[in-house]
């Protein structure tokens, strides 16, 4: 619980933060600090320099306009959980992160760039087809959530870049989103986390997006499940049948630990897919 020595800089703007990041090799951005600081205290991480972005006003706040919701990178899980403008599945997901203290400090940006395979928000953001706004020394760019997550603790974020905001579409009537999670009883992370977004018209599913976290090294898009849902009248049996298709999406690379073996997680995948899809369908109305 005693980190190595480190330098601390506080940035007051995104451009200052980027400039500081580029001045210090190996420097890490400090947002809520709920993944980075424990890793530093355990001496698993030794960045040498921290750039604190916590006081940058531009990175705070949730804004809805013109069919889109822009969520500042420093938005805490608590704020997200309490928001009525973000898709309901996203606020639901944020409410399952850690405990109240963690949710009060941890941020959406931090969770996304950390890319923990057992994190909750990345799963839902991929399902919602969110896009991530990134600022770097050469300017701004936007990347889709699906392309952003490239592996276990690995993302598309380049050195010297900062994730500034997450953008999702407004949830239209007829669309529902939901998150269903098998908790790790020790850490509260997802052993299986399923995000489902479905659109229903005239009783049939017209669009579906189902994504799993916790099982594989990076978030996994269950396209077989989505394909099986689209065009179908969604009821208990059809949802259950579609959920079984998740086995086609799960490769051989399923994670296991003392809390849940790979076999168990694999077996639980369709159960939680079923639950997430059923809840999303109900919300779609």
């Amino acid at each position: 619980m005693y980190p190595f020595n480190f330098e601390y800089h506080k940035a007051s703007s995104v451009s200052e933060a980027i400039s500081l990041l580029n001045q210090h090799d190996g420097a890490k951005v400090l947002a809520g600090g709920h993944s980075l600081i424990p890793a530093m205290k355990l001496r698993l991480s030794d960045p040498g320099v921290l750039i604190d972005i916590g006081k940058i006003d531009d990175l705070h706040g949730i804004n809805a306009s013109k069919g889109a919701v822009t969520i500042g990178g420093l938005t805490t899980h608590s704020d997200l959980a309490a928001s009525i403008v973000v898709p309901i599945g996203l606020s639901e997901t944020a409410g399952t992160v850690g405990d109240q203290q963690v949710r009060n400090r941890g941020t959406i940006g931090g969770s996304v760039v950390h890319a923990d395979p057992a994190a909750d928000l990345p799963t839902m953001l991929v399902a919602l087809r969110a896009s991530f706004h990134i600022s770097g020394p050469t300017g701004n760019r936007t990347v889709s959530a699906e392309d952003f997550f490239t592996g276990m603790f690995e993302t598309d974020l380049e050195d010297g870049e900062i994730l500034t905001a997450v953008e999702v579409a407004d949830e239209q009537s007829g669309t529902g989103s939901a998150y269903s999670k098998l908790f790790n009883p020790a850490s509260g992370y997802a052993m299986v986390g399923v995000a489902a977004v479905v659109t229903v018209a005239s009783g049939k599913c017209t669009e579906a997006s189902v994504v799993l976290g916790g099982l594989t090294p990076s978030v996994m898009v269950a396209s077989s499940v989505a394909d099986s849902l689209v065009g179908v009248k969604l009821e208990e049996t059809s949802i259950a049948a579609a959920a079984e298709a998740v086995q086609n999406d799960l490769g051989s690379d399923v994670l296991g630990d003392i809390h849940a073996s790979a076999d168990y997680r694999r077996a639980m995948a369709p159960v939680y897919v079923r639950r997430a899809v059923a809840a999303a369908v109900e919300r779609a109305g």
Binding site: Y2, L42, L182, P185, A186, I258, H259, A260, A267, V271
Partner: protein, 791 residues
């Protein structure tokens, strides 16, 4: 008679300080010139230490010294203060720092002293140790088999002790004659105590007086001083003062003398500056004691009508790589001797092999032996009920020791001559059945099963032993405890009428400052506010054995009570003198001494205390002051009991267990403060439920602790638990004049089997009769897959 304070839910006077953060824990203490220690621990579970190079660490700016075991060669290994009674104990105990060999991951091998903790930790990383890794064994049964790696020369087969209680021949014969014999292997998994505050110590040494002052996170400061001075340092006891500041939870893990406590004291003298050591959570997990870790094979014999006739148990008790302070006593006296439970079992035999393995030391953890015994007995009752197709409550009722059989001596001398003090086991069962509306639940369960839902109810009719005593029974000639187990108290009534009580016990969350004051206020008939209770410092308190084993009320408060009787006797003499009455004509009542039949002819205890202190007019030859010290050695232990019932629903698709209701009916004898007892029961239930469902200290084959942090060790969260429903009956203990029994561990002891039995009841339609703990979702799901294809 004034309103009784004894028995009322007075708010804890400790709480304002604790809630506002004013209370000082060890980490809050800062001494002038204090330096900091960090310990290097073995990354290997079993290895020889070839050499240690400290040069690079010593060179770090701010490092004051780096020391290895060789620097403390003159200090002997730590004492093992409770060896199993009546058998040989092949004892091996830790040194201040290990010199030649380590037998578990996390054993202390070197220490850095530096200006601050960060520098100390940096330097620890620069110490180079050349280890020769040795083969590792972590499972107690495997360790006892031929060909297993050997940990200690003096312990062939890794056996520390081979202990037994009860009658082997008679039990074998009864099993032969039984209508039905049920056999089961039952594991009681390893737990990690996880107090909120880890261990730590601060030491200061005065060269002028040659005195040490040691602050430590201890449940037993007097015992620590005794063990450190007499058994490790070889100095007079009077040359050390031990203080326990506020202690943030112990659950048993802070009873023991640890190497680091001695190390810090030794370093204070070597370095010549006050020194602090505080372990991290990671260190707490690998180097503080663990609990439980039994593998037991049981055989139970029953008649067709459900009468249990015999119980035979063989247990492998994992003691870890080396012995903690009272390790061998836990799986023997506190476990085997409790295996009759609340039942009349005519034939009992239990053999316990205490085994060394390459794991952290295992010692007392909340309940200590009694949860292991209760889990086994209560699982056995359900296995039998299932086998005989009997209702588990009726099977229990049939075998209960009847209310008119007390004092009751369990069969086969299993309790080594002691008797259960008092009990009424049917009353608590009946109350629990009533509170839960058991019959209605069974109907609901039946209906739910028809729709594919698995509801279950589990019973735990438990007994435990508190205030373990008398010294003549538990001590060296009996159960092997290397000391007495009486408790002490001093009561002084100052000139102003204010009462100061000092105790030998050491509260660390129990609320002694409140409950002891309640006893005093009630006995003396004075305001609660006029009593203060001091403790936890060897300077200024009488020697006592500390707080554990639910002994502070059943032994400690009784010492206070006994002192108060003598204070009152003296007050009566002085009061009679002041009233110019004969001693035979006065009585002590409601805080006054008055002439019988003339309550207005009285002197208050405050007036009498003033007279006693000023001392210008006392009865001929009487000493000044109202002051008395008592040492109470109980004639017997006390035996609380109760029935807990748990209702669960098991999700057959995922194996997840949802606790829907939890009802506890306890009988802890007379209750001093119901709110505090409720709090104890709440916390205890949470810990016991956690063993049933979540907690598991896991080592891999190489002896690495896989569940080495809170990310992987699943302590209970409030959100996992329902609101507990508590109820109580009150059967006073005849052992002590207060009638109290003890309540600190009851919840932990009772709840584990209640939960497991409930899950097994839920799964009974699938033919599932036993799953080893913790009943994780995966384990339950697997059992469902193997037995019932998930319905």
């Amino acid at each position: 008679m004034a309103t009784r304070i004894f028995g009322s839910s007075i708010k804890r006077r400790e709480d304002p300080k604790l809630i506002t953060g004013e209370a000082q824990y060890l980490e809050d203490i800062q001494l002038h010139g204090m330096v900091h220690a960090a310990v290097l621990r073995s990354p290997y579970a079993h290895a020889n230490i070839r050499s240690i190079n400290v040069e690079e660490a010593k060179a770090v700016d701010g490092v004051i010294g780096v020391f290895t075991g060789k620097d403390f060669e003159e200090l002997p290994a730590l004492p093992c203060a409770w060896q199993a009674g009546g058998v040989d104990n092949n004892a091996n105990t830790p040194r201040v720092l290990e010199i030649e060999r380590v037998t578990f991951t996390g054993a202390a091998v070197a220490v850095v002293v530096a200006e601050n903790r960060y520098i100390a930790q940096d330097a620890v990383g620069l110490i180079e140790v050349d280890y020769e890794p040795l083969p590792v064994v972590v499972d107690a049964e495997e360790a006892s088999q031929k060909g297993a790696p050997q940990l200690h020369e003096n312990a062939p087969g890794n056996i520390c002790m081979d202990w037994a209680c009860g009658q082997e021949e008679g039990t074998e014969a009864a099993l032969e004659e039984a209508d039905v014999v049920v056999k089961q292997r039952i594991k009681n998994q390893r737990l990690i105590p996880t107090p909120l505050e880890p261990r730590g110590a601060i030491a200061q040494y005065s060269p002028a007086s040659e005195e040490y002052t040691v602050w430590m996170t201890s449940q037993a400061p007097h015992v620590m001083r005794l063990l450190m001075t007499a058994f490790v340092f070889g100095i007079p006891e009077t040359k050390m003062r031990v203080i326990s500041p506020h202690v943030g939870g112990g659950f048993g893990s802070k009873i023991f003398l640890y190497p680091e406590y001695c190390l810090v004291a030794a370093l204070a003298k070597k370095v010549g500056r006050p020194i602090k050591w505080m372990e991290t959570r990671g260190e707490n997990y690998v180097a503080t004691t663990h609990g439980r870790d039994h593998i037991s094979d049981i055989e139970v014999g029953v008649k067709r009508d459900g009468t249990v006739t015999a119980l035979k148990v063989k247990t492998y008790a994992n003691l870890g790589g080396i012995l903690s302070t009272i390790a061998p006593g836990i799986p023997t006296t506190l476990y085997g001797r409790m295996l009759s439970g609340v039942y009349k079992i005519p034939n009992i035999y239990c053999q316990v092999l205490g085994v060394y393995t390459n794991t952290a030391m295992v010692d007392a953890y909340r309940g200590a032996g009694r949860p292991e015994a209760t889990y086994l007995v209560e699982r056995v009752m359900d296995l039998v009920a299932n086998e005989l197709k009997m209702d588990p409550s009726e099977l229990r009722r049939k075998n209960f020791i009847p209310a008119d059989a007390f004092p009751y001596e369990p069969a086969d001398d299993i309790l080594a001559g002691l008797k259960y003090d008092s009990g009424n086991y049917e009353a608590v069962l009946d109350r629990a059945l009533e509170v839960t509306d058991y019959k209605a639940f069974r109907q609901e369960q039946e209906k739910a099963r028809e729709s594919g839902r698995y509801l279950g109810v589990g019973f735990s009719s438990y007994i435990e032993v508190c205030g373990v005593a008398p010294s003549a029974w538990v001590g060296v000639g009996g159960q092997g405890w290397g000391a007495g187990l009486w408790e002490s108290a001093n009561v002084r009534v100052h000139l102003t009428g204010q009462v100061v009580v000092t105790t030998g016990t050491q509260p660390h969350g129990q609320g002694h400052e409140t409950t002891v004051a309640q006893v005093v206020a009630d006995e003396l008939g004075i305001p609660f506010e006029d009593v203060i209770v001091q403790h936890s410092d060897t300077l200024g308190t009488p020697f006592g054995y500390g707080t554990y084993g639910s002994r502070s009320a059943a032994v400690g408060a009784v010492a206070v009570y006994n002192s108060l009787q003598r204070i009152k006797d003296k007050a009566k003499l002085i009061g009679a003198h002041m009233l110019e009455a004969s001693i035979d004509d006065v009585i002590y009542e409601d805080g006054k001494v008055h002439v019988k039949g003339a309550p207005t002819e009285s002197k208050t205890i405050q007036e009498i205390a003033g007279q006693a202190a000023l001392a210008y007019d006392l009865p001929e030859g009487m000493e000044a002051f109202l002051d008395d010290t008592a040492y109470y050695d109980p004639p017997n232990c006390t035996f609380p009991f109760g029935t807990h019932m748990c209702m669960v629903e098991v999700d057959r698709h995922t194996g997840q267990v949802d606790i829907q209701r939890y009802v506890a009916v306890d009988d802890v004898g007379r209750v001093i403060n119901p709110m505090i007892v409720d709090g104890q029961v709440h916390g205890g239930i949470a810990q016991g439920v956690a063993q049933a469902l979540w907690e598991h200290g896991v080592y891999d084959e190489s002896g690495q602790l896989v569940s080495g942090s809170l990310l992987d060790y699943a302590i209970p969260k409030a959100s996992f638990l329902p609101s507990f429903e508590l109820d109580r009956t009150e059967t006073p203990s005849p052992v002590n004049p207060l009638g109290v029994k003890g309540a600190g561990e009851a919840g932990t002891i009772a709840s584990t089997p209640a939960v497991v039995n409930a899950v097994m009841d839920a799964l009974s339609p699938l033919g599932i009769t036993h799953i080893d703990m913790p009943l994780t979702a995966e384990r339950v799901w697997q059992a469902v897959q193997q037995n019932g294809n998930g319905g």
